[in-house]
């Protein structure tokens, strides 16, 4: 499916259907990440259950430590 990720259109592979799967696909599953889908932040305990839909506007910010 096609989603908009941080302002850019991305085509996701078939198997990516949930927020958790999206994070794994982006190799961010072990990071501190904040995910917003269609202007609403998805809480961590909803990552497994929150389904993605075509056309979703996803904003995703992961934490880094450097400075």
């Amino acid at each position: 499916m096609k989603i908009e990720l941080n302002g850019k259109v991305h085509e996701l592979p078939e198997h990516v259907k949930t927020t958790a799967q999206l994070l794994a696909f982006l190799e961010l599953q072990n990071r501190i990440v904040i995910v917003e889908i269609n202007q609403d932040i998805v809480l961590k305990d909803k990552y497994e259950s929150h389904q993605l839909n075509t056309g979703d506007k996803v904003e995703l910010i992961h934490f880094v430590g450097g400075g």
């Binding site: 941080n6 850019k8 501190i32 904040i34 904003e59 880094v64 450097g66 400075g67």
Partner: protein, 335 residues
């Protein structure tokens, strides 16, 4: 002399400029972000700037840490000392107080006390959580910033408004996740520092600042931002109903941190101690090479390690990422 702020005052107004000139700002960490943030703040005319850093200038810093010169690297000057010299030459009117120290629970509140804003320029989550606790305890805004590679992020922690840093980062990530070995380019440093300083100026001049987390990848040209109000945790031990400020409590052991991507370990004794650098340099003269001393530290080669001993009892052991090994070397050298 006043006309030096003319352009800024035209933009920000007389009241805003006055607020900036009356402010005290603490910059934690004087690496890449700390250098960029401090230079902007001093040029903007902040009244008092407090800077703190545990490290000394090395050649690999010069690519992005804008305050430092080849001469500083040759002399192995502590960053806080080299930074003060440069910053004071940029603006002689700013009161600058420098601290060559590791920031932790015992000194953070003293540093933060009376400050208008705390600026994050550290390189690890643990220190940020310590500063965040001090900020929450003393009701001081804390502007977070971080970067790696071409990616950077910022967030203003505003006491009483939105989540604190601990709410967002509810555990300290393991070292291998945060250890940033992939390098960094200076344009993203400048972006993060600019965002932090802009937010600091807005806070000072009374603009409405929202709890918004922002990120930017300056290579991919990818931007994201979100209001994170919803992540405020009422049970947060740092900013919630029952505030325990867990990162301001005692630790009893010698603290050793692996310095990311540098094959080095930083060591801080459990209680502050003063090292007699002159005595130590004599004591170890025979067993070491390339001895260099300045007013703040002693540097020498103690095969296979390169060792830096600071006056305040801290050390950086280069040539190992093994904490136990580094602690042994430290104990052997300082008794």
């Amino acid at each position: 002399m006043k006309s030096r702020y003319l352009k800024q005052e035209l933009f920000i107004g007389k009241t805003g400029q006055k607020k900036i000139e009356e402010s005290t700002i603490v910059v934690f960490g004087m690496g890449a972000l700390g250098s960029a943030i401090s230079e902007m703040l001093v040029r903007a005319g902040v009244g008092k700037l407090v800077i703190a850093d545990r490290d000394y200038v090395e050649w690999s810093n010069l690519q992005r840490q804008q305050l430092y010169t080849e001469d500083d690297a040759k002399k192995k000057l502590p960053k806080a000392v080299a930074a003060k010299q440069r910053l004071q030459s940029i603006n002689s009117q700013t009161i600058i107080k420098e601290h060559v120290m590791d920031i932790f629970f015992q000194n953070v509140e003293e540093l933060a006390e009376g400050a208008s804003i705390l600026m994050d320029a550290t390189d690890n989550f643990e220190t940020r959580l310590v500063i965040n606790d001090a900020a929450m305890k003393h009701n001081i805004p804390f502007v977070f910033g971080a970067c790696v590679g071409s990616y950077g992020m910022t967030y203003p922690v505003l006491p009483g408004k939105g989540p604190c840093f601990h709410c967002l980062v509810d555990y300290i990530p393991s070292q291998n996740v945060t250890c940033d070995t992939e390098g960094v380019i200076s344009p993203i440093v400048q972006w993060v520092a600019s965002m932090q300083v802009a937010q600091a100026m807005q806070i000072l001049s009374g603009e409405d600042v929202t709890p918004t987390l922002r990120s930017f990848d300056i290579w991919k040209m990818e931007h994201a931002e979100m209001n994170v109000e919803k992540l405020k945790n009422l049970d947060c031990p740092s900013c919630g109903i029952e505030r325990l400020h867990p990162f301001l409590t005692m630790e009893k052991h010698t603290k050793a941190d692996i310095l990311c991507g540098r094959d080095a370990v930083h060591i801080r004794p459990p209680v502050p101690r003063t090292l007699d650098l002159k005595y130590l340099s004599k004591q170890w003269e025979q067993q070491t090479t390339n001895m260099l001393a300045n007013a703040h530290l002693l540097s020498f080669q103690y095969e296979p390690y390169r060792v830096i001993l600071f006056k305040d009892g801290r050390a950086i052991i280069h040539g190992t990422a093994d904490i136990t090994m580094a602690k042994n070397v430290y104990t052997r050298l300082t008794g």
